[in-house]
Symmetry: C2
DNA sequence: CTGAAAGCGCTTACAG
DNA sequence: CTGAAAGCGCTTACAG
């Protein structure tokens, strides 16, 4: 006889199977301590009742929720999307769930989201992109759970990170332009608040220019917010403020495409009259006309690794510097 | 004197403030029943101890988690991203968290994710994109929580949805092409598994052709998977199988951009020799060269509304048909 | 206005 | 191999 209950609990299963809740819990968790026969009875009862474990109760007592909190500066661009995808895939394989939080690049909001994640007893958090304000770092510390920073790092707090060597990558991108015969090069950087796209990449750019004996004046770099629109506007400024520009390095593919779009509306042909190299190697680079030459970051893989670091204690506390490469497509011209 | 505890609970706060846990709970939840003075003492104790509520315990007893589960067929494209953004923003304003699940357009995986969401006691779920298989619909039903479908619907289960009238939108897009003087028009549809991009939009397309007295042969529609790459391939097929094509309607902006890219590598000028109209009005349309004329869906807003329907019981069970419009940019030519 | 107590649905020693 | 019981950190009637 089946006693159907609205929302069966482990107690209902126990009753149905004629065992104690402890035993049900054991088979539920794959722990040892029961005969094949009891196991079968329990499984049958579970099936018959349509029992579903309540993760809140489980989490409350086991002190593990299998939840990974992800803080993204924005979720609208392809970089975030690819990263999130990597995280989600790995989390799924590792039987974890991901809670996404949009920080809007705002530290107050970040702090708030961290508190929420803390209340929800997240097992770990992945913080991507923007600079980590001190109070957020402190909150992270007090939460006492695994953290990994993606494409950013903290000087104040020693937190594991996953990223590319942005300075080197920017250096290589710029040198690639130099090697292709360009002498007057500009850069469209990310927001100053972003340590990677707005900071270290600029350093790498400047270093490469200096090393090549080229003009590395401050005018040559202008900042955008990583978006297409801002790339377009930045290109406009750059053209006005630097003479004889023949190549531009943009700190994101979207801004690079924006720069190309500017050229399109101003009768400047890419790559014949203007070369453009981007950063990230997102789908945007592939979809660009002409296809965009860019610095590849293994973003999806970085997401996977970040999630793995959170879940797998063997990797806890490790930082990872991932390889970058230059993907040549058709937006950079080789000068004679 | 401050008694600092590792992870203070409501009991610690109660002790510190010299009240009962019931009282602490009341001020925590803004319920009435205490003097200004006790409230102050409680707040002070909370502050002093650095108390943080445990959402698992709260959820366990209150039977509300403020968690919205979101099931996306993929999280890599801009459509999903914009939708997720709308959902996240609204959820944040409504003090909810969102758990994202990638279904990979796979019903088995969807079923699994739904079960996880059920175990986690999600307050509601938003299911976007692909067809809802019967067992998934049944699972949704048995979960007994608010559901909203985005850009899809279920015939078997009467579930509230938020979408655009895809048939009408596709009809208008096609008629727009006809009105611009095109007679030989093709379509790049979405996957057949997607009722909107692979189903109703095709119907709208065909209807418009028939109504205009144009050839509406089955050869004129080919399917892609909504991606850039598939758009490119689809365009290749279309060019091979239909004569004198001058215009194409793609069921996603990404595929439309793929079609444009195909033209780029085959010396077919857009819009002079080939007109292309997309669907969605994502960032891809704006970034395209030439800028893509497309059917606008208020995707971000649809995400917001879906979240609101879940949270706000006044809107529960309501379905929403959102307005679409045609955004004219530069990828469609007006034939003389 | 305030508190003692039961209970949400599980897991985990502990005993047998 | 199995069960009774305590307990995770809260909320919610119920009494006073």
């Amino acid at each position: 006889m089946v006693n159907t209950v609205a929302n069966p609990t482990i107690r209902d299963v126990a009753k149905q199977a004629n065992v104690s809740v402890a035993t049900v819990s054991r088979v539920l968790n794959g722990l040892p301590g029961y005969t094949e026969d009891t196991k079968r009875r329990v499984l049958e009862a579970i099936d018959r009742l349509g029992f579903r474990r309540n993760a809140l109760a489980t989490g409350l007592v086991s002190r593990r929720t299998s939840i990974i909190g992800v803080l993204l500066p924005r979720i609208s661009d392809r970089w975030s999307t690819m990263l999130l995808q990597g995280i989600e895939h790995a989390a799924h394989e590792l039987s974890h769930s991901v809670i996404v939080c949009n920080t809007d690049d705002d530290a107050d909001r970040t702090l708030h989201e961290l508190q929420v994640l803390g209340e929800r007893q997240a097992d770990g958090v992945i913080y991507a992109g923007s600079h980590l304000r001190d109070d957020c770092g402190k909150e992270l510390e007090r939460m006492g759970i695994p953290v990994v920073l993606v494409s950013t790092s903290s000087t104040r707090y020693q937190l594991p990170y996953v990223r590319v060597d942005d300075t080197a990558a920017a250096f290589h991108a710029t040198r690639y332009l130099v090697e292709n015969g360009h002498h007057s090069i500009g850069m469209i950087a990310g927001p100053s608040a972003d340590p990677a796209s707005g900071g270290t990449r600029v350093e790498g750019f400047l270093q490469a220019l200096r090393e090549a004996g080229l003009d590395a004046d401050g005018d040559r770099v202008t900042h955008g917010d990583l978006s297409f629109r801002s790339g377009l506007d930045a290109m406009d400024r750059l053209m006005a403020q630097v003479q004889g520009l023949t190549a531009v390095f943009a700190a994101s593919d979207e801004m690079a495409v924006g720069a190309i779009a500017w050229c399109g509306t101003h009768q400047v042909r890419v790559p014949e009259q203007m070369s453009v190299i981007g950063y990230n190697d997102t789908q945007d680079a592939e979809m660009s006309v002409p296809p965009l030459t860019t610095v590849r970051q293994p973003i999806y893989e970085m997401g996977r690794r970040a999630a793995t670091i959170i879940v797998d204690r063997r990797h806890r506390q490790e930082s990872l510097v991932m390889p970058f490469s230059i993907v040549e497509r058709s937006s950079v011209r080789r000068c004679a």
